[in-house]
Amino acid sequence: MADDDQVILLDFWVSLFGMRVRIALAEKEIKYEYRNEDLKNKSDLLLKMNPVNKKIPVLIHNGKPVCESLIIVQYIDEVWKDRSPFMPSDPYERAQARFWVDFIDKKVYLPSVRLATTKGEEQEAAKKEFFEVFEILEGELGDKPYFQGEAFGFVDILLSTYTCYFHTFETFGNFSMEVKFPKITAWTKRCMQRESVAKTLPDPKKMWEVVMERRKGLGLD
């Protein structure tokens, strides 16, 4: 890809979905302009570039928009295919990677949000679901260094964004990720050694503050 590519990312710093794209861009060492959106007052550009869903993240590549975080990550991998591939080359292994990306996308978000922003019975139910999902992921990771094997890839990009919220989940859910999910905990440390992940993910304390504000707003604490 030429250095005169124009790449703009419309995003919101808290967004897990935006973080996936930021890690992907960092992995490929792509230069881009970051624009933080005010979600209560969306820019004309965002509404023009994503008229269907009106959401971030949106990647604008040489004036053309790509929407939906997973689709953006795949696009980045296919366009900048000369470096740091996110997917294995074997079709069956690629299908497995897509399956787990889809699983994480479908199954991790809602229990995580509920675990962090509810209490009592609702939180217990969310915690149970969260544990079920993470037990499946712990099993799938097994003794591999990364979800796709030896190389950091698409599945890792996706799940690693949640790691900046682990401290928040532990605090409000009253459990230890390391005790319950030792393999994922080790994998988290491995991911944080990658510059793309370490430089993209906000400080876990900041995420805790964001959630704390939300909890206060909901009258929980």
Partner: protein, 224 residues
């Protein structure tokens, strides 16, 4: 015995996408019908995470989730035409976007409009139409979402062609009217007339009986 096997339920639209993809590309396969109220131990073994259809078994290795399977078919049988996805990464991203839009927005809203009544049905229909407007615009100047031949996004929306009229007959409501969505209705006809599509979909009378019974069960379960 074909090296490809497809686990499916006869009435479900998700495995039907895979039937269409395999047929359109001329890939030989064996069909294994599942009774979803009594799932086989094979299905549970091959899809332990979701325990659902479709599952594609290729040389003994299972792949689950319809859109994952479609991408796998496209990559594995690269030489078999027609291609389901374009070569250009931007066009591929667009195809994936519309497929996701269909599954995330259109399918659940049309389903909601089908199984609900009264105000709930009205609201679901309004929301469905709000979203279908975008599809109507996208279809301008196109025979199929994939261009001249049926592609990834078309296969994902294919359930509109065989199920909408079934739902409309059962629920007694127009879900997609020709005044608001002329291009969509044209697309549905083009899709239905494309090779291998109508000949492989389930018989209409069976679908009507099945979905009528399902709707009645769901309505009976609704809190009064």
């Amino acid at each position: 015995m074909a090296e490809v096997k497809l686990f499916r339920a006869w009435s479900s639209p998700f495995p039907l996408r895979i039937v269409w993809a395999l047929e359109v590309k001329g890939i030989e396969y064996d069909m294994i019908y599942e009774d979803l109220s009594n799932k086989s131990s094979m299905l549970l073994q091959y899809n332990p995470v979701y325990k659902k259809v479709p599952v594609l078994l290729h040389k003994g290795k299972p792949i689950s989730e319809s859109l994952v399977i479609l991408e796998y078919i496209e990559e594995t049988w690269k030489s078999k035409t027609p291609s389901l996805l374009p070569g250009d990464p931007y066009q591929r991203a667009m195809a994936r976007f519309w497929a996701k839009f269909g599954d995330d927005k259109i399918l659940p809203l049309i389903w909601e409009a089908f199984i609900k009544q009264g105000k709930d049905q009205e609201e679901a229909l309004i929301a469905a139409h709000e979203n279908l407007k975008y599809l109507e615009v996208e279809l301008r100047g196109k025979k199929f979402l994939g261009g001249e031949t049926v592609g990834f996004a078309d296969l994902t929306f294919g359930w509109l062609a065989n199920l909408v009229s079934v739902f409309e007959e059962i629920a007694g409501v127009t879900l997609i009217d020709h005044e608001k969505f002329p291009l969509l209705l044209t697309w549905m006809k083009n899709f239905m007339d494309a090779p291998k599509i109508r000949e492989t979909w389930p018989p209409r009378d069976k679908l009507i009986n099945h979905f009528r019974a399902l709707r009645e069960t769901l309505i009976a379960k609704e809190p009064k």
